[in-house]
């Protein structure tokens, strides 16, 4: 169902568009009581089948509706346009003062109903009783044309603005007399404003307007949009116009003919629009860093020409600011690009239009950018600040971040190709300078102002080191002395013990206990030399003894004699019995070796 309605609607709108049909109403917006005026409904390019007039109970209908048809054909630059219009005209007379609304009228054409807009007519108290057209008081020649009869006025939409806030200025000519033309027009100059003419009609279009209960013919000569560029009370200089006014000759009543055909002459009058002062206040303090004078209400968006690009190829970054305010004066916002991007001056496309006293639309800044390295990059949001007139505060808006994929340039990476040396190396640039970052690892805390050096602990440690050293020294010393004592005792007793053992060996020899005899002899020799040298039994070996003895400057012969006799003892213990004589000889040799050694070690 909905679809069908939509379809019908589309078709209807197409029909309308083709026909370019219009149904309009035309009526003066201000009339005086007792005045007769025309109310015209015009159907252009339509085939009206039925006309449905609105209620007109507040007005007296003197005549109508009278229908008239008009065909028009135009050739413009060889193109023919044809139009046909049907109009329904009423002659009305206003009866009571007030504001009255004439409702919608409608016609049906091709089964489509066209409606007019409802119009409001202001009825004011008429000054003259005779019902004429407009009370076009043609002043008599010689009579002064007062400033009330014709005057020029410059209206500004706002008297108090902030710097950069758009306002409109309208130059209007008001007249009650028959102005046939204007000369020597001096339009206002807007010093301290950036100005743009937005309405400059070729032909003067007279409208009616109620000024303090009087109906004036009003012509809008110019309309400007102004953007204040400096603060303070700025005076807009007066503008001037010389009006050419038709006045009736005084000569009258001579004949009926003179009465019937008035004769006119033209009079020139200079009218001056008074100067207007606009108070422009400075923007409040506290503007953000990115503020560059934008005033109004804006939105920002950013985009890329391509999402993916090769290194060293250009890509465009678009920043579009839309909204209303002094959009045509916006400066290019700063785009922060990743390092290694080259950016060139922005190309600006201004799509702003003047609408109802302010600028609105969009302004696009296109920044050509060349990435020099490959990788995935994010372009930071573009920041833009403006002064919001409605909320009277600064606002900063930012676009979305943009992602750009830069691929490796194919120029360089030709696989298998020969390497062409290219001077791509350059110094690493410092982009900015900053302090180094804080340290985040937990530090080793120490009590403030306490130092190890000179503290009690320090001295205690030193004291303890020396104390321990002292103790160790004493202990070591004692031990050494003790050891020395032992050695000395053994040394002094060595001979005695050896003798005792030898004596015991002699006894054993006599008893013919040979095994024990050799053993005793052997022990006497070993024991002697161990005691003499301060060695324990475990440390005793033939080599060690020879070495120690040599160190003590004992002759080699003495040493070899001594070791030989030890060897003989050991050998004899396990050898077959060598006989009594041999045994006695070994005994003598042992005694001799010990006494020799005693001599040598003295």
């Amino acid at each position: 169902m909905k679809r069908i309605i939509l379809l019908i609607w589309t078709v209807l709108s197409l029909v309308q568009a083709n026909a370019q049909g219009q149904f309009t109403v035309e009526v003066p917006n201000v009339v005086a009581t007792g005045e007769r005026f025309r109310l015209v409904f015009t159907a252009t390019n339509l085939e009206p089948e039925s006309f449905n007039p609105p209620e007109m109970e507040n007005f007296m209908v003197l005549a109508g509706p009278t229908t008239s048809t008009m065909n028009r054909m135009e050739y413009i630059n060889g193109r023919r346009t044809q139009s046909r219009s049907v109009s329904y005209t009423y002659i009305l007379e206003a009866v009571t003062t007030g504001k009255f609304t004439i409702g919608e009228a409608s016609v049906v054409s091709d089964k489509v109903t066209y409606r007019t807009q409802s119009v409001t007519i202001e009825v004011i108290q008429g000054t003259s009783s005779q019902g004429g057209a407009v009370r076009q008081q043609d002043p008599v020649a010689g009579a002064e044309i007062s400033d009330q009869d014709v005057f020029l006025r410059l209206d500004v939409s706002k008297r108090r603005v902030v710097k950069g806030e758009p306002l409109t200025a309208t130059l209007k000519l008001y007249t009650r007399v028959n102005v046939s033309g204007a000369e020597d027009i001096r339009f206002p100059t807007f010093n301290g404003f950036w100005s743009q003419e937005v309405y400059a009609p070729q032909q003067i279009d007279w409208q009616r307007e109620n000024v303090n209960g009087e109906i004036y013919q009003v012509a809008t000569l110019r309309r400007y949009v102004l953007l204040p560029q400096q603060a303070g009370s700025i005076k807009i200089d007066p503008s001037e116009i010389v009006c050419v006014i038709q006045v009736r000759n005084t000569r009258r009543g001579q004949s009926l003919l003179d009465e019937f055909f008035d004769s006119y002459q033209t009079v020139r009058k200079r009218v001056i629009a008074p100067a207007v002062t606009v108070n422009v206040s400075e923007l409040p303090a506290g503007a953000p860093g990115t503020f560059k004078g934008a005033v109004g209400k804006f939105a920002i968006s950013a985009g890329l020409g391509k999402d993916s690009v090769k290194a060293h190829d250009a890509v465009s970054v678009y920043v579009t600011i839309t909204g209303e305010g002094n959009i045509n004066l916006l400066e290019a916002p700063r785009v922060t690009l990743p390092p290694d991007f080259e950016v060139y001056d922005a190309k600006i496309t201004d799509n702003s239009r003047n609408t109802g006293g302010t600028f609105s639309g969009s302004k696009t800044f296109e920044y050509p950018v060349i990435p020099r390295s490959h990788g995935d990059f994010t372009i930071d949001p573009v920041e833009f600040s403006y002064y919001d007139i409605e909320n009277k505060q600064y606002k900063t808006i930012r676009s979305e971040p943009l992602k750009l994929k830069v691929e490796r340039s194919t120029d360089l990476a030709a696989p298998g190709g020969t390497y062409t040396p290219e001077n791509r190396r350059r110094a690493v640039e410092s982009l900015s300078r900053d302090i180094r970052y804080i340290k985040t690892a937990s530090p080793s805390w120490r009590s403030t102002g306490k130092y190890l050096t000179g503290s009690v602990l320090y001295f205690v440690i030193l004291f303890m080191i020396f104390a321990v050293t002292g103790v160790v020294y004493v202990v070591m010393n004692k031990r050494r002395e003790h050891m020395n004592d032992v050695i000395r005792v053994r040394n002094s007793k060595a001979n005695k013990i050896a003798r005792t053992r030898l004596k015991a060996a002699g006894v054993l020899l006599k008893q013919k206990l040979f095994e024990a005899y050799y053993e005793e002899l052997h022990r006497a020799l070993w024991g002697y030399i161990a005691d003499k040298l301060g060695l324990s039994q475990a440390e005793c070996s033939r080599e060690r003894i020879s070495e120690l003895l040599r160190k003590r400057n004992v002759e080699t012969e003495t040493i070899s004699n001594f070791t030989d006799i030890i060897d003989s003892c050991e050998y004899a213990r396990y050898a077959p019995d060598p006989g009594q004589l041999e045994k006695e000889r070994i005994f003598d040799m042992a005694v001799k070796a010990i006494s020799n050694m005693e001599q040598a070690l003295k």
């Binding site: 300078r433 900053d434 302090i435 180094r436 970052y437 804080i438 340290k439 985040t440 690892a441 937990s442 530090p443 080793s444 805390w445 120490r446 009590s447 403030t448 102002g449 306490k450 130092y451 190890l452 050096t453 000179g454 503290s455 009690v456 602990l457 320090y458 205690v460 440690i461 030193l462 303890m464 080191i465 050293t469 160790v472 020294y473 070591m476 050494r480």
Partner: protein, 254 residues
């Protein structure tokens, strides 16, 4: 007897290293997080809380300096970097940031050039902090004693000779490091270097408010305090010029 000795040593050691380590560490991490989030005022509050709790470290002062720098309080940044440098004289990060903070200060003073050998000798103890020197000196002393013991009790004439010479050399080292430890401590605790914290500070010819203005120094300038008299301090700039400033306009680094 042994137990008592152990208790005494343990007590001394623990009194020396900060007692309450847990609280500063959590505050420390919190402050670092605030710094990372660019909430410098919050970070600063926590760092200063740690400082006021009676513990310190070069890193703490360094971070406080960084926070002040980010908040554009250059004089305070310089002050805390100087404090950090006192505790850790050889830290390149502190020196680098101090240099940058100094560049942001108003007064540019050309220091009087000094003889480099004198600098070396004067600054040789700056390689390490006083505590580290102290620990090192104790260690070296122990080594020297060990070698001396070897000399006393070892056998072998050559070995004992070597031990004796070594112990002498090492003992000399121990002595040097001990001297350094004391020097570093004196340097760190000496109340001589101060930073001007007042935005503008007139340097007078006499310790008197009516005194003639000799020069005007600005915040962040490093001065050497030569003497104090009442509420006045006689200061010397790095270029050698001297004068009197009110004590409440400068803060000592120690």
């Amino acid at each position: 007897m042994k137990k008592i000795l152990f208790l005494i040593v343990f007590g001394l050691v623990s009194s020396f290293t900060a007692e309450a380590r847990e609280i500063p560490d959590s505050l420390w991490n919190e402050a670092n997080a605030f710094y990372a989030g660019e909430q410098y005022q919050d970070a600063l509050d926590r760092y200063l809380e740690i400082e006021n709790s009676g513990v310190e470290s070069a890193d703490l002062y360094y971070n406080i300096g960084n926070t002040y720098f980010k908040m554009r309080y250059m004089a305070y940044a310089v002050l805390y970097y100087e404090k950090a440098l006192r505790l850790s004289p050889n830290d390149p990060d502190i020196a680098y940031n101090l240099e940058i903070a100094r560049e942001q200060c108003i007064d540019r003073i050309e220091p009087v050039p000094t003889f480099f050998v004198a600098d070396w000798i004067r600054e040789s103890h700056q390689i390490m902090s006083s505590d580290k020197w102290a620990v090192l000196s104790v260690g070296i002393l122990l080594l020297a004693i060990l070698f001396f013991m070897l000399f006393l009790f070892a056998r072998g004439v050559r070995f004992r000779k070597a031990a004796f010479i070594l112990s002498l050399v090492i003992f000399l080292f121990a002595l040097t490091t001990t001297v350094f430890a004391w020097q570093a401590k004196n340097q760190a605790t000496r109340k001589d270097i101060a930073i001007v914290l007042a935005a503008v500070s007139p340097v007078k010819a006499a310790p008197d408010i009516q005194g003639k203005d000799l020069l005007v120094i600005h915040e962040g300038t490093r001065v050497r305090v030569l003497e104090e008299m009442g509420s006045w301090a006689r200061i010397e700039l790095e270029d050698g010029r001297q004068g009197w400033v009110a004590l409440n306009e400068i803060v000592f680094v120690y």
